[in-house]
Symmetry: C2
Subunit: 551 residues, 2 copies
């Protein structure tokens, strides 16, 4: 009878345990978890803070008892594994002070990742600074909130968990300040897409400091001193500056670690010891596009890896193919989501990276409640290979990114996107979906019909003498335009073309890029040299508000 | 200067016109349309009936004037093309009684499809029977509704347009009866999935007659006699029994037609005359999976074809790759959507077709307002090739079908589905998405871990002596179970296995299939012969309600 020990009873570990039982009815399966709960809804924790997930018990998806009844699993909670002895194939565990050893035939590590704790003076003395990883962490935060209702909260780190906490603390009635070290929120996103998401934080009354960090906690944590000297009061502070692999146990056992202490595994999820497997947030995976070792802390891949390692142990043909990295965060009424590489990463690995921005609607504009949707596509300007995508909007952004994640996985190119057939009726989409339009726009760039210029290159181009032609109507132009642009409405372009100078280089812009593209085509076919300001005015004004004039 | 004539100014035709202008600024482009409007929102028409799309003007997306200003198009509405002379390369058109000829270099036909009118006695005399294709059709229906508010309506045909009309007439306050000739609503769907959708019609008070047709209209259409002799009163009747290609003009011009009078085109959208192209609902396309000629009347493909034919005429490398056929219909609070082949079609073309049903949620069950979602996957039991999918639910079904449509297009197999990385946070999905679970379940079938039996094979299996074991709890069983089943709760299965007889064949069932699959694994590993009732009780009771007992 095979004896399998699993360390860590959340997503990856518990997926492995349940699948192992379904494949190996006779195996002895022991799951150790140092916490009091297994298989809890870790992605749901922030939503209990506001009461959106009302009942704490809703987060406890399974209990050791239910899992034992159904899967005959020997689940040992509040039991920490202190050491692994690979030569003897045994682990040393402790439960309530009692230390014992347990042997294994196969060992699966699913320890997860733990919050990174920055070294900040005063942090050790702070009494109101929390991280959020487990139910006990949540309990501590909820307890604190009982005494600080309506008070001030600070969230350090504007990644996914930081934003979810900022939202839920706001909904709980706290006055929230968000502090991010990078120059924009949502560091995995590109700056201009993050700017679209940040708007929603401002709209909801959250104070956002970017390019900032806490340099000191004072008054047992009730005062935060930022790097610029600013002082903040906080009744409750959440540290959410990222996670790191919980790999000390693996390291002590002599298993090979890689970048940022991630556990190295092979295609079969085997660590450097072939009887010890590892899955989940603690392992290094190949990023599918770059093929580089990466730490990708996401629930979906962790669950998949857990099931796959069970299959492999049971002798089924599975392979660790790496991860793409698709993530999403709801920010009040908006949602930001991404898949694959962002522009910065793509440019580092792929020299012919190009990008484009689409402003669309989640469904047909003539059907009620159509909402704006901004989509960015990152692709190869020669082959059309898709490297990544990001979307921000109220509705339907998850659908578009899921489709694009599928397209990337399947190695479709931008030329394939218009061929995709989506479920279209007016409440659900458009006959030309934003994903189709992204494919068409990318094809236009690759085939030379359109030559975009990005928002970050505009200043230099204008300084070099290019002329920025805004083809919106006179009324739109008057309400706000990019400083230095001149106005020639699209519908007058053909009749007034004689007023333009063919010796100049032109940049065309409009509201969202549709009219400027038509203008670009008209001008190019008439022999002008033209660039199209990608994303146009509606994107530019949001990432460069200081460059907008109304006179 | 190239002179291009386009016949038909809605989706395909107008997409072609706009793209042609962007690529051929110098071309002369004339668009003929026999109706008063071009580029109107034809998919939105039913939603104006209830007032959900409040303003008629919202349906008029573009006008000839706006299109002329922006694209320099010569748009001639209320102008019918009477004849095409391919040898002279000219068309004969009529506008307000004035007949004239216009020559062309290239001609694009985008005539669309028209409602099929069945031959029913009394129909010619009926004054209250309508079809819905155009704005004037809609105007006639709206006019009639002014005099029949709160009256009785009949909708003949329960396809997409029939269902949309049934919903919108109900919302307008009419008492609606739906009549469908097939044995279930939504003929493109399989019977059990259509049954899930039909529930919502009943819940909303619509009377549904399937296996029925109108055999006679009496009293100028105010009385309908059905085939079984039943009489219905109707103040307003909608005929929505399908569409047929508007291909008479093409036929008269000697162009080659195929199945059901669809216009035959090649990979370049050329008809049998190389200077005459055709796109949209009137052409035959290759169904992508079967490679058979098909009529696929959908807005998405029509728009794509219009753009592609413009590219081809302008010399860009495009190819008519055929269509998959993805469609969706909202039915009040539910949505039904499908892509690719249904089970019946797949079985006709692919001998190793298998199917499975997943009952899931649109997002994590512990996050508020998770809604049921039923997903059917149709695939090859040897290779894992995906042939089609159908989904019915309140939310999120469009997303899953769009992903699966992308997967089919990319020739992914069921083994690839678990590898897809979706944007997951609790409000948007689950770490194990229904699409992942469908992939896992299909893999289990292909690799022999699970052996499903379908709802339509259950009777025969039970008659042949197989034993139906319901592994739900005693309480669930008491509330309703499949007649002839016996109850052995999953959590007691291991301890009570001795009560089972290894010489018998067992079929396991539960509520949605998750527990029965675990039971199947336990039993199989203990040497039993077992089938798993696919979709389990929750599917079976809805398609076979007469086979459910409560005692």
């Amino acid at each position: 009878m095979t004896k399998i020990i699993i360390i860590g009873g959340v997503s990856g570990g518990m997926s492995a345990a349940a699948r192992l039982r379904r494949l190996m009815e006779e195996a002895q399966i022991i799951v150790f978890d140092k916490g009091p709960y297994v298989s809890f809804a870790n992605c749901g924790l922030p939503f209990h803070v506001s009461g959106e997930i009302a009942e704490r018990s809703d987060l406890l998806v399974q209990t050791p008892e239910t899992l034992n009844k159904r899967f005959a699993l020997d689940i040992r909670t509040e039991t920490e594994v202190l050491a692994i002895d690979p030569s003897k194939k045994e682990v040393t565990a402790v439960n309530q002070g009692k230390i014992y050893k347990e042997s294994y035939d196969k060992l699966i590590l699913s320890p997860g990742a733990k919050p990174f704790i920055p070294k900040i003076p005063g942090l050790a003395e702070a009494e109101n600074v929390f991280t959020l990883r487990s139910i006990p962490d949540l309990d501590r935060i909820m307890e604190k909130l009982q005494h600080t209702a309506g008070g001030k909260a600070a969230v350090v780190g504007a990644g996914f968990i930081g934003l979810e906490m900022a939202e839920n603390l706001t909904k709980k009635g706290m006055d929230v300040t968000l502090i991010e070290k990078a120059n924009h929120i949502l560091p995995p996103f590109d700056e201009e897409m993050a700017a679209l998401a940040e708007e929603e934080l401002h709209r909801q009354g959250i104070t956002v400091y970017t390019n900032q960090a806490v340099q000191l906690f004072k008054d047992k944590g009730k005062t935060l001193i930022l790097e610029d000297g600013r002082q903040l009061k906080s009744d409750l502070t959440i540290l959410a500056v990222g996670v790191q692999p919980e790999s000390e146990l693996a390291q002590a056992a002599g298993l090979q670690l890689g970048e940022r202490s991630g556990i190295i595994v092979n295609e079969n999820y085997q660590t450097s010891n072939p009887d010890i497997y590892a899955v989940g947030d603690a392992i290094l995976v190949k990023q599918e596009l770059t093929k580089k070792d990466s730490l990708i802390s996401l629930a979906g891949p962790a669950n998949r890896q857990g099931r796959q390692v069970a299959d492999i142990i049971a002798g089924l043909p599975r392979k660790n193919k790496g991860s793409l990295g698709t993530a999403i965060v709801r920010i009040f009424d908006k949602t930001a989501t991404s898949t694959g590489l962002n522009e910065g990463l793509a440019r580092r690995y792929f020299p012919h990276t190009a990008v484009l921005h689409i402003a669309g609607k989640d469904h047909a504009g003539y059907y009620p409640d159509a909402a704006d949707l901004n989509l960015k596509l990152i692709f190869d300007s020669r082959t059309g290979a898709i490297y990544g995508a990001q979307a921000v909007g109220e509705k339907g952004v998850d659908k578009r990114i899921d489709v694009l994640a599928t397209a990337i996985k399947a190695k479709l190119t931008v030329f394939d996107l218009p061929e995709l057939e989506f479920s279209y009726a007016p409440p659900f989409g458009s006959a030309k979906d934003p994903v189709h339009i992204a494919g068409y726009a990318a094809s236009n760039i690759i085939e030379g019909q359109s030559t975009p210029i990005q928002w970050y290159d505009l200043d230099k181009a204008l300084a070099g003498g290019e002329i920025l032609l805004d083809v919106r109507t006179k009324e739109e132009f008057k309400q706000g335009h990019i400083t230095g642009s001149c106005n020639l409405p699209l519908n007058d372009l053909r009749s007034q073309m004689a007023s333009l100078d063919k010796s100049k280089d032109y940049i065309v812009s409009c509201h969202s890029g549709q009219r400027s593209y038509i203008a670009e085509r008209i001008l190019k076919q008439n022999g002008f040299r033209v660039h199209n300001l990608d994303g146009a005015y509606s994107l530019y004004r949001r990432v460069k508000p200081e460059k907008i004039s109304t006179h």
